[in-house]
Assembly symmetry: C2
Homo-oligomer: 194 residues x 2
């Protein structure tokens, strides 16, 4: 069986799990080792897994009509990643999921997640809370995009994700806060001169 210690710990942070639930988890999660730049999802594919990051870091992003990437989410240790829309509707995704570092992930297939939702209703509660937390975070991000300059957003990013700043090239951070790499470079120059 996979080593699911980190996943278990993460889930127990929401609600305690029974022996039976732990057993099911161990049986139904798939461990995968991912190389840097390897894709877990590409545009046009259907997202068939919920992915939990045990080690490493991945990004979820969109490529616009001009070929530019826009990062929706980074997921490092103990975070989940999925194109929830595609996962539910089973329609092709418009997103890419790619490792920015060599990573180890645990994946749950849809049929297994549904099994958990059905047979162990507790998981509905856990995933409800997770979805609501993500929703709040995303709302804050949208509001900040509306009301702050790029420099302020960059400062917030540094404050909020200190564990990521030395793991990501600046160009990835630029894509996350919604600006060009060139402009981020100017912002950094400005900040460092103070």
């Amino acid at each position: 069986m996979s080593d699911i210690a980190s996943l278990v710990k993460h889930l127990q942070g929401f609600l305690p799990l029974s022996e039976e639930e732990l057993d099911e988890l161990a049986q139904r999660t798939h461990l995968r080792k991912i190389k840097r730049r390897q894709f877990l999802l590409q545009e046009g594919e259907i997202c068939r897994h919920y992915t939990f990051v045990e080690q490493g870091c991945l990004k979820l992003y969109y490529i616009d009509v001009n070929g530019y990437e826009h990062n929706l989410q980074f997921a490092a240790e103990n975070e989940w990643l999925a194109d929830i829309g595609s996962f539910h509707t089973e329609k092709p995704s418009r997103l890419y999921m790619e490792a920015v570092e060599p990573s180890i992930v645990l994946q749950l297939e849809k049929k297994d997640l549904i099994l958990f939702y059905t047979d162990y209703p507790k998981f509905n509660r856990i995933f409800r809370v997770m979805a609501e937390d993500s929703l709040v975070e995303l709302q804050n991000r949208l509001l900040q995009n509306f009301s702050s300059t790029a420099a302020e957003r960059y400062r917030s990013f540094l404050n909020k994700y200190p564990h990521l700043i030395n793991r990501l090239p600046n160009t990835q951070i630029a894509s996350y806060i919604g600006i060009t790499p060139e402009f981020l470079s100017r912002i950094r120059k400005e900040l460092s001169s103070k």
Copy 2:
């Protein structure tokens, strides 16, 4: 008891409800009539309800340091509204919730929602799906803000929310798509000249 027909219909769209669940709903939801411009939540208050719009339309927004409003969400008939973050943490909200039309809403208090989550686990599932749907919508909105011009965002708004366009002043739409009313006016002029 309140007339909860529209709420019941909305929830049954996710999962069928038992007689007992319907009874509980009828007993625990509070019907409120809201005047135009009346607030259901103001910055600094704790969000203590999930609000379901039976009739009318409300907006959820943030006021930035310069005093400008930024609309996070409109909720018209059969939509939910809450500051989920404040609701969960019981910390003061930074958001405002205000009726843009005279409205009729149904509210669920936190203790009652928790009761549903606990005694009728089905509600976890329903609210999980709702949260996930909102998450997808918000992700799309964020991506569009990154990759589209204001004019494109305005066109998308018209396509996506046709039922709202004659119920909202343009200044509210401008706030939702993240631009100034003046600039929206210029966009509209441009569009109508074609």
